[in-house]
Symmetry: C2
């Protein structure tokens, strides 16, 4: 029996520090193989798509064999799931602010302002998700112990909440899209800009939409 257990992916680098599992690598020096696999996977899954990138490529880039990967992960899906959990970890703080009350434009603004900071810090992870929607949906479909507080689901539920006016809900979607486009759809057009400057410009634009 290997360490890789099906669909029990941990965040990796954040948790995973008990029993005999691969050692947690909070210490910076040398990333564990597990972490190195995840880091290469982020790049390859984003560049070529989850289906377009093969385990062979990941292995080659790390100079190990496919079999080594299967020691750390039960399946290719399991790698994607681990990355998904990693993102979820970053998003859950902002999400915590959402109760069952109807979301106001003010609350949405707060939420998104916080999220923009995390998106700037975790650009690659968010980009991975944007570009692999189909694979992630399949992952959720196949996952039967669905702990369904997925970030995307929560967002969509808010945007569909009939207690909030259509106009406001459209504004909420637009403000999110505005931030998103500034970060991910512009290629490297804003590459020379510091995270702080870009973050402020985006927050300004968001404010104009929500105050509009």
């Amino acid at each position: 029996m290997t360490q890789a257990t099906s669909r029990q992916a941990t965040v990796g680098g954040l948790a995973d520090s008990e029993d005999g599992g691969p050692a947690d690598d909070a210490t910076p020096e040398a990333a564990s193989t597990r972490e190195r696999i995840l880091n290469v996977a982020i790049d390859l899954f984003t560049e070529k798509g989850f289906d377009g990138a093969s385990l062979r490529e990941i292995a080659e880039r790390l100079d190990v064999t496919k079999a080594a990967i299967y020691y750390h992960f039960a399946s290719k899906d399991d790698i994607l799931m681990a990355l998904h959990m990693r993102l979820h970890e970053f998003g859950k703080d902002a999400l915590g602010k959402m109760t069952d009350e109807p979301v106001t434009l003010e609350l949405w603004g707060e939420l998104l302002g916080q999220l923009v900071g995390q998106m700037l810090a975790q650009r690659k992870l968010f980009l991975l998700h944007e570009r692999n929607q189909a694979a992630l949906e399949k992952l959720h479909r196949d996952d039967h112990d669905a702990e369904h507080d997925d970030i995307q689901d929560r967002f969509r539920r808010v945007l569909a909440d009939p207690r909030v006016s259509l106009r406001d809900r459209v504004r909420m979607a637009c403000s999110f899209g505005a931030a998103f486009a500034g970060l991910f759809m512009s290629g490297d057009a804003f590459e020379g800009t510091s995270n702080q400057e870009l973050g402020e410009l985006l927050r300004d634009a968001m404010r104009d939409i929500l105050a509009g």
Copy 2:
């Protein structure tokens, strides 16, 4: 030799009406097999991703065999290219307004206002592109007779134009993202809304960003 010639995909349903090629199907009655393949491909490539969807599935859904598909298209890539050209056809009118002059916020607003209408009318085609970035990039990489006036490239070039202030360029990206999110990232949250109403709400939000 079959009709399918490599990488010379025509728009399909809009052009393609000369020589012995499969008949143009401007007449509504029954869509040609070629058109039916493209229509099914839009759905499957969007739902499962370009790599995740197989030609077998497309064939099954049309109740024909894979070989029939290869009569109409030289390769799987060729199908995606045909769909890409179809989108390009719709976008080129708006793009025509872009000269080599620096793009002003006003011009950008006009451009996007027009584009929103086309996005509403061709939702599926735009969604296909959003969800298959990796496959489309590979398509462009492999395409050596690159006629490089791709819509996305043009947009990015504008957003990177140093003659325009960073603030304005970020606003342009945001306004596009706002429209985009309202249309594609909200799932079916706005499904009950008419295209006209949604279009107006989106244009209002865009105006607020560009006027901000």
